[in-house]
């Protein structure tokens, strides 16, 4: 990658939705009033369509290039040039980011389409589409940014849009507070991200080569050798801080608490932001900076451990939830944990591939649940559902296929990607059998609770209440309901077409990365190879960067990858371990499905048995999400409130006291000054006046008014003159 190809259309991928957001944000209410809701959604859909079209064009352009040259750069404008910090607004396309933008714009476009149907009753329609477009712009900035700072702009932007969209129905306090919770928890993570950015720039700048642009950081990695930050090796510190940011954005323990609450937002939002795109930002960031993370094996250990813990804990919580969206939320947290497991064991492209397939089936699941919720008039408790298979067949079949994908049943996409991760967790030098075991257990739980949901929602008897309010008419109902006990019905085409497309993706996407063990060619891994070094042993620093530049490094990586592929194929032939592991994970998945079948379809095992087991302690623990929220409330939140009250008191007593004291002092000084003015200055003036009066009083005595005294004076005067001889 000595010279990326300069293009100028990448910016429109970001700018189109931004313009859409601007138009809808400023004029949306007026447009909606005059031309109806379709004007607003037409604008939003058009901009996403433009972005998608440009993403496809970029992808095609990349395909036409040789693998080592698949890099496009769109330098839009100068941004920050201060000292040694040079960051421009530039967009960078390589196989990794082109995959991401296809996912974001493609699935984002489908969700926009779905939203037209789902949100058709919403009066604040324009506000929804404004935020949705704004989110697309921010997410695309995040993915396409060529530097950590540009990525961070998008990072913050998606956090903002997440807040706005979670709290979209803000008149309910619970929704607004869920939005705040998401934003604040993200912010805690962002603090780590910012520290990581600072540390990276600063340590590189110690040699005068500070930069935040990804390709330049990759070239300057050797500068980090031996550098320490606060007693920790520089790459470890930087990557650890960046990982904290990833935990916040991608809802890993301990910053995962916002994601289940985020289900308060509209379901398409949950599908887009909290399944397919925003929460994957952390995974993307690690993949983007894989060369940096390779220098910090300790951080990778932490990543893998946290990923495993999160995956396992979230899966256990999902088992006990009754809200259809909460189950999916915990499932998302759990699958994100899987992606981080992949990152942690060095299998970056496996993690990205799981991100890719997960986007399809999770979005499909969320949209399917949205379809159910919409049809049941915002009923979300699965205990009030059932038997929907015959009322909503399209929703059922798409949901079922997506669930199979999530559970990891072959030949679905989820099986391919999850299995890849589990295999790498077992076999990579960074992995360990414990991670593999917990991951497999998690997969089993996943299969169980997802099929529990399928059976409770779509099979059996309909347990819902009579929710057809008399006269409640569905505008988009294909047939009118006049009677009270309205039956749930299938959602309109605008909502079911995306479901079908996404389900198809869940089934077929796996074909992109079939492992050699099953006769495939790892196409996806090869596609990402110029960017990601595959899954080989992390080394201290990229060799040969000094002389040959990054081209040399990339060629070296490509050679290493080929070598890996050869040894890999060789290993497969000599060790049947992958087949064993594959078989094990399929068995685990099928076991989970069987258990769910017995418990919730056949009812031959009573769920209450598990709920009451061991004094109901495990059940209560998972039902209450391991009391994370309660612990945070008691410690962090209360601590912050106490601190804030203490500081407020300090402000009131000390600072206001100082200010008021200063005022008091001024008043006293001015009183003194006034006294001085009154006593001294006025006194002098008055004294002069009084003296004059006194003199005048005396002098008045001369004016007797009597003629004789004047004559006396004349005579005396003459005598004086004569005798003193003045004359």
């Amino acid at each position: 990658m000595s010279h990326p190809i300069e293009v100028d259309y990448l910016r429109w991928i970001v700018l189109a939705p931004l313009l859409g957001a601007a138009v809808n944000g400023l004029a949306g209410a007026a447009l909606q009033k005059r031309f109806g809701k379709h004007a607003v959604s037409a604008i939003a859909l058009a901009t996403v369509a433009i972005s998608f079209a440009l993403s496809v064009r970029a992808f095609a352009q990349l395909l036409g290039l040789a693998p080592e040259q698949r890099f496009l750069l769109d330098a839009m404008s100068k941004w920050i040039h201060i000292g040694s910090l040079k960051v421009d607004l530039a967009f960078w396309l390589d196989p990794l980011s082109s995959t991401m933008i296809l996912v974001v714009t493609g699935i984002g476009g489908l969700i926009h389409l779905y939203s037209v149907g789902y949100m058709s009753d919403e009066p604040s329609y324009w506000r929804y589409f404004t935020y949705l477009n704004l989110f697309m712009a921010a997410m695309l900035t995040l993915v396409l940014g060529d530097s950590l700072l540009t990525m961070f702009v998008g990072w913050e932007g998606v956090g903002l849009c997440s807040y706005a969209l979670i709290g979209f129905w803000h008149k309910e306090w619970a929704n607004a507070s869920a939005g705040s919770k998401a934003f604040i928890t993200n912010r805690v993570g962002d603090f780590g991200f910012v520290l990581g950015m600072f540390a990276l720039f600063w340590t590189l700048d110690r040699s005068g080569q500070g930069t935040l642009v990804f390709r330049e950081v990759a070239q300057r990695l050797p500068l980090l050798d031996g550098q320490m930050v606060w007693g920790i090796a520089a790459p470890t510190f930087i990557t650890l801080m960046l990982f904290v940011g990833a935990c916040g954005k991608s809802a890993q323990i301990p910053l995962h608490v916002w994601l289940p609450d985020a289900m308060a937002g509209p379901t398409p939002v949950s599908a887009l932001i909290h399944a397919a795109t925003m929460v994957t930002a952390g995974v993307y960031m690690i993949a983007r900076l894989n060369f940096l993370f390779d220098l910090a094996p300790d951080t990778l250990h932490v990543v893998a451990v946290i990923g495993t813990l999160t995956a396992f804990m979230a899966a256990t919580i999902g088992v006990a939830q009754f809200d259809i969206k909460k189950v999916l939320a915990y499932s998302t947290v759990s699958q994100l944990g899987f992606m981080f497991i992949a990152m942690g064991v060095g299998a970056y492209s496996a993690g990205v591939f799981h991100l890719f397939t997960h986007a399809f089936f999770k979005a499909c699941l969320f949209l399917g649940s949205g379809s159910v919720i919409h049809a049941l008039h915002h009923e979300q408790d699965v205990r009030h559902m059932g038997g929907l298979k015959k009322h909503m067949p399209v929703t059922f079949w798409t949901f079922a296929f997506a669930t199979l994908a999530l559970a990891g049943v072959p030949p679905m996409a989820g099986f391919i990607s999850k299995d890849e991760i589990l295999f790498k967790a077992f076999s990579s030098p960074q992995g360990s059998p414990i991670i593999w075991f917990l991951g497999s257990l998690t997969a089993g739980f996943t299969a169980f609770y997802m099929f529990r949901q399928v059976f409770m929602v779509f099979f059996g008897e309909y347990r819902g209440g009579h929710h057809g309010h008399a006269g409640h008419a569905d505008e988009h109902a294909p047939h009118a309901h006049g009677h009270v006990a309205a039956e749930p019905h299938e959602s309109p085409a605008l909502m079911t077409i995306p479901l079908v497309l996404l389900a198809a993706g869940s089934i077929l996407a796996g074909m992109l990365n079939v492992p050699a063990a099953l006769g495939g060619h790892h196409a996806f891994d090869n596609w990402l190879a110029p960017v990601i070094a595959g899954s080989h042993v992390p080394h201290a620093a990229a060799p040969a960067t000094g002389e040959h530049g990054v081209t040399g490094a990339v060629e070296h990586e490509a050679r290493v990858l080929e070598h890996d592929a050869e040894t890999f194929a060789h290993d497969v032939e000599t060790e049947p371990s992958e087949y064993v592991l594959m078989g094990f994970s399929v068995a685990v998945a099928l076991g989970g499905i069987l258990l769910a079948y017995l418990m919730y379809y056949r009812r031959s095992i009573d769920p209450e048995f598990f709920a009451r087991a061991w004094g109901a302690v495990p059940y209560r623990l998972v039902y209450n999400k391991y009391y994370f929220d309660e612990i945070y409330e008691a410690t962090v939140i209360r601590g912050t409130l106490v601190l804030s009250r203490a500081l407020a008191t300090f402000d009131r007593v000390v600072i206001d006291g100082l200010v008021n004291g200063a005022g008091w002092l001024v008043r006293q000084v001015s009183a003194l000054d006034g006294a001085f003015d009154r006593v001294v200055v006025d006194g002098i003036v008055n004294l002069i006046g009084r003296v004059s009066l006194a003199i005048g009083n005396r002098a008045r005595g001369l004016q007797t008014g009597h003629i004789y005294s004047y004559l006396y004076a004349i005579v005396i005067g003459v005598v004086v003159i004569m005798f003193v001889r003045l004359l």
Binding site: G705, H706, Y708
Partner: protein
Amino acid sequence: MEIGLHHYLFVALVVFLSGIFTVLTRRNAIGVLMGVELVLNSANINYIAFARYGGTPYDGQVFAIFVIMLAAAEAAIGLAIVLGIYRTFQTIDVEATDSLRG
């Protein structure tokens, strides 16, 4: 005895002092004016005496005629003022005219 200059001067002095005394002590405004006349006349005596006993013979006499004329004019003015005073104060007692007392 021979009547010399000094006799005339002495007479003039006595008249002068009487005139001054009159001016200073009379309560009646016209009396004051009379005193002024006395003073002027004493000056006249002086002039005539010096005209007879010394200097040029007739200069003094001419001056004396001037003085008499001036005295007459001044007496007229003075009486006019006394008239004014009488109109204002209804009396010609000079002690009554102390309105300008400070």
